[in-house]
């Protein structure tokens, strides 16, 4: 299980590091494309279709509401999901992290957003 606080911190650090990397290494084409990457890309999800759509919406709103503040975004996502479908949700928002989590089936969303964010939302009590 990944710890929410620590990963958020990690994410912050990553956020600080990321612009430097992008500015240095990315080519012009890649940059153009990253601009177009401003949509949610669901990587792994085993939720029900309705919940999935809702969860993706929540993530998008939360991240857009707190630009650059991943901790706040993660907190918002967690609170929204807790309110929507019961307690013990966890959320990670960050640009670089590794995780190994145990999640309840049908309660996992792993998606990318905005071209540089990995967002992991899952339920485990």
């Amino acid at each position: 299980m990944a710890d929410l606080g620590s990963t958020a911190n990690l994410a912050d650090k990553g956020a600080a590091a990321a612009p430097a990397q992008g500015g240095g290494g990315g080519g012009d084409k890649a940059e153009e494309k990253t601009r177009n990457f401003n949509y949610p890309l669901v990587k792994i999800c085993d939720m029900m279709e309705e919940l999935r759509a809702e969860a993706v919406d929540m993530v998008v709103t939360a991240v857009e509401k707190h630009p650059g503040n991943y901790e706040a975004a993660a907190k918002t996502i967690k609170e929204l999901m807790d309110k929507r479908c019961g307690s013990s949700w966890h959320a990670i928002v960050g640009e670089g992290y590794g995780f190994e989590i145990t999640h309840e089936l049908r309660n996992l969303l792993y998606m990318y957003f905005g071209g540089n964010l990995g967002i992991l939302v899952w339920k485990q009590s």
Partner: protein
């Protein structure tokens, strides 16, 4: 006890003193001033200095002189006045007005006891406890006894000898001044009892629920992984766009491929759904389906059973209405016409519908669906036939057998008991198959070998009898409708006519209800012929009147000579089969698809027309106009009509595959058949509770004409007399009358003057009843 200690001294008094302090301060100086003057001897004392509190008001003389009257009363000014307590009785908070105004300023408990008070009595107990059994041995018991006696109030005074001794003992104790050891005991006789209830044993139970299924997921998020994922997604999208752009030309091919590929899948899926083939499950499913339908159409079912058009009761209204109930359709037969309707003679809720087409250019496969009123959504039994169904009929004695005639001339017999999709009998082209559509089939009585048999008529001009043997369907041509058989025609055209015309196309026929071999045949060119099974070379009589093809002929089930015919020439005609001219003609303004006599009355019949109307005639009420003319469907032609043989339900079918069931209002189901004079006789309406002019409770058709003349009816008949001396009679045939006759009797007061002997009045029993004994008890025992 009286001497209750109040350890807490109420703080209020001090407060009260403090408020009065100004007063005392003011008055005290006066005393002080007067004191030295009067005493004089206190001069040596140091002069008194008045100590004033720093914040004291300085008042002028005048203000000081001012008097404030205060009234002292026994009320405690600091007692709270607004205490509200919760009343459990009324379950609301209530202000409690009565406060305790008692303030105890000082209290002191002494140790001395008055001699004559009750408190002295327990003293000996303590002495006894110390161990002086000889002196006060009886003392403790005696006062107790005395107090008991006092409480009991029996009036027996305590013994004088022992009482003094008790008092004496008390005296001694007080005088000696011995302190009673220990606390004072309760003077009342008391006992302590303790018991313990059984504690419920504790039990622990626990169970573990299965934890929700879990899975472990691990991954690493980094920028390049995200970038790659987005790139891949982008590429896929581009691909999809390209494919779409390519798609339209290749569309047809794809679709074909799809069609080919989906078909086998569908079949597989179909074979997977074997659950409905399981007979036990199927039964349960049927019940569930019926229940679901019953819930959905609960109102309709209620109407089916209980709806009576209240308007029919009003005034002299003779007309009635039809209430549409369920509508029966089946998806597969939506394109087809209802070509035949048949009620099952045994089950009042079961009927069969034949689907086909009357349109020559739109022929196709046909279908037979057996619906029940209990399930309007799906037929109970469904057969498909290779050609359109034109007619069908249930066997009157074997209600599972259906004879069916098809457009291609085939006749079939289905047995709905057998769970097979194929007919049990089928006419083959080898063995007498009709060459033209079979327009009507009719079951006849089983023949001498007890083989069921039926007749069919086709536009190829043949009337054929089919006999169901064990193995095959035997046929006999009963009649060929030749034109020259008609005596009139033959005379008109001479012998050439035989060559000129072939066979006339038969459209319909109906057998006489009483004289079995007699039947009438309606033909395509409008003539109706009376024929007999016995003579197949000659018409007994020909009826001319219809200008277009005759769709239906129907014999009346009560009057054996009368039949109706419905024709495409917009008319329904009433005939006597001995009279070549029609008795009556009813013009309905549109092509008449079908006509049917009501099973309950000899004068009621219904007809349906191509403009979607249902006509119900009651010749007893109105010979010229229908008692009901009601449009039932829009933009559809009604093709057939059928009365339920048991219930007041009418079934009509239209050319769009719909079958509508309708309930006949009370005016449409009057049982006729009585003499005209009884029309005036009022009857008692159970609905309005008044006498009514029209008849519903009539004698059944068997009794009717015989008994009506005599006027003497069986013993169970009830006669009601209205104010104008008109009579309403309930006969035994009416269930309401039976009920009234059995349950409601009133014979008036009996007059028995002089019949009973005069006796002296006896005094009956008196007292309080305590139980049962005597005659009743004996009776019960013997019984």
């Amino acid at each position: 006890m009286k001497s209750v200690r109040r350890p807490k001294v109420v703080p209020e008094p001090t407060l009260g003193n403090r408020t009065l302090s100004t007063h005392s301060l003011r008055s005290n100086p006066g005393d002080e001033n007067g004191g030295p003057g009067g005493g004089g001897g206190d001069d040596w004392l140091p002069p008194k200095v008045l100590l004033k509190p720093p914040g004291q008001l300085t008042l002028t003389e005048q203000e000081l002189e001012e008097e404030f009257t205060r009234i002292l009363n026994a009320n405690n000014p600091h007692a709270p006045q607004n205490i509200a307590r919760y009343s459990h009785k009324e379950q609301v908070f209530k202000a409690s007005p009565n406060m305790d105004h008692l303030i105890v300023h000082y209290e002191f408990d002494g140790y001395l006891i008055y001699k004559n008070t009750e408190d002295t009595t327990p003293a000996p107990i303590s002495t006894n406890a110390e161990g002086e059994p000889t002196e006060g041995g009886e003392a403790p018991t005696e006062p107790a006894a005395a107090s008991e006696a006092g409480a009991g109030g029996e009036g027996t005074p305590p013994k004088p000898e022992s009482a003094p001794s008790g008092e004496g003992a008390a005296d001694v104790v007080v005088e000696e001044g011995r302190k009673p050891k220990g606390p004072l005991r309760n003077q009342f006789n008391f006992s302590e009892r303790a018991s313990q209830t059984v504690n419920n044993p504790y039990r622990e139970r626990w169970t573990n629920t299965e934890p929700p299924p879990q899975r472990i997921l691990s991954d690493t998020v980094n920028q390049w992984a995200i970038f790659d994922a987005y790139m891949e997604d982008q590429q896929q999208k581009e691909k999809a766009v390209k494919e779409k752009a390519k798609a339209p030309p290749a569309n047809t091919k794809l679709q074909r491929d799809d069609a080919h590929s989906t078909l086998p899948i569908d079949r597989d899926a179909h074979s997977d759904d074997v659950y409905y083939k399981n007979p036990e499950l199927r039964k349960a499913l049927t019940i569930m389906e019926r229940m679901a339908n019953q819930n959905t159409y609960d109102e309709v079912a209620q109407d089916y059973k209980y709806w009576e058009d209240a308007a029919d009761e009003l005034g002299d209204r003779k007309s009635g209405t039809l209430l549409p109930l369920w509508r029966f359709t089946h998806d597969k037969d939506k394109r087809k016409m209802v070509t035949s309707l048949g009620w099952n003679p045994h089950f009042p809720d079961l009927f069969a519908v034949g689907y086909g087409s009357y349109d020559f250019s739109k022929q196709g496969a046909g279908m037979i669906a057996c619906f029940t009123l209990k399930n309007s959504s799906f037929p109970e039994v469904l057969y498909s036939t290779e050609a359109g169904v034109m007619c069908l009929e249930f066997h009157p004695q074997h209600p599972s057998m259906i004879a069916v005639g098809l457009y291609n001339g085939t006749v079939l017999v289905f047995d709905i008991r057998k769970k097979i999709d194929t007919p049990v009998f089928r006419s083959s082209s080898k063995a007498g198959k009709h060459t033209d559509p079979v327009w009507q089939v009719a079951w006849q009585k089983d023949d001498l070998d007890d083989n069921p048999n039926f007749f069919s008529i086709s536009s190829d001009g043949r009337v054929t009898q089919w006999t169901l043997t064990k193995t095959e369907l035997m046929y006999t041509d009963v009649l060929k409708l030749r034109y020259d058989m008609d005596p009139n025609l033959a005379s008109q055209h001479g012998p050439e006519s035989k060559k000129l015309f072939g066979l006339a196309g038969g459209c319909c026929f109906d057998f006489n209800k009483k004289t079995e071999p007699l039947f009438v045949v309606g033909t395509e060119e409008g003539r109706i012929h009376k024929c007999s099974k016995e003579y197949n070379s000659l018409y007994l009589l020909s009826f001319e009147g219809h200008q277009m093809s005759v769709y239906t002929v129907r014999y009346n089930s009560f009057l054996p000579n009368v039949f109706l015919s419905a024709s495409a020439d917009w008319t329904v005609k009433l005939w006597d089969h001995d009279n070549p001219k029609a008795i009556m003609t009813f013009d309905l303004g549109s092509s008449v698809g079908d006509v049917a006599w009501a099973p309950y009355s000899s004068t009621v019949f219904a007809a349906v027309t191509a403009d979607g109307k249902v006509f119900v005639f009651d010749l007893n009420e109105n010979k010229y106009d229908p008692v009901c003319e009601q449009p039932v469907v829009r933009k559809a032609r009604l093709t057939h009509v059928s009365f339920n043989p048991f219930e007041p339900i009418l079934l009509v079918g239209d050319d769009r595959g719909n079958v509508i069931s309708m309930k006949l209002s009370p005016n449409l189901r009057k049982k006729g058949g009585k003499g005209g004079d009884e029309d005036e006789e009022p009857h008692f309406s159970l609905i309005t509770g008044r006498l009514k002019q029209t008849r519903i409770f009539d004698v059944g058709s068997k009794k009717g004409e015989d008994d009506a003349g005599d006027g003497d009816v069986s013993d169970t008949a009830i006669t009601l007399r209205s104010s104008n001396n008109a009579l309403a009679r309930f006969d035994a045939s009416s269930p309401a009358a039976q009920y009234l006759a059995e349950r409601r009797t009133f014979r008036g007061l009996e007059r028995k003057e002089g019949e009973t002997e005069v006796q002296k009045a006896e005094e009956g029993r008196s007292g309080v009843a305590r139980g049962y004994s005597g005659e009743d008890g004996k009776d019960l025992q013997t019984a």
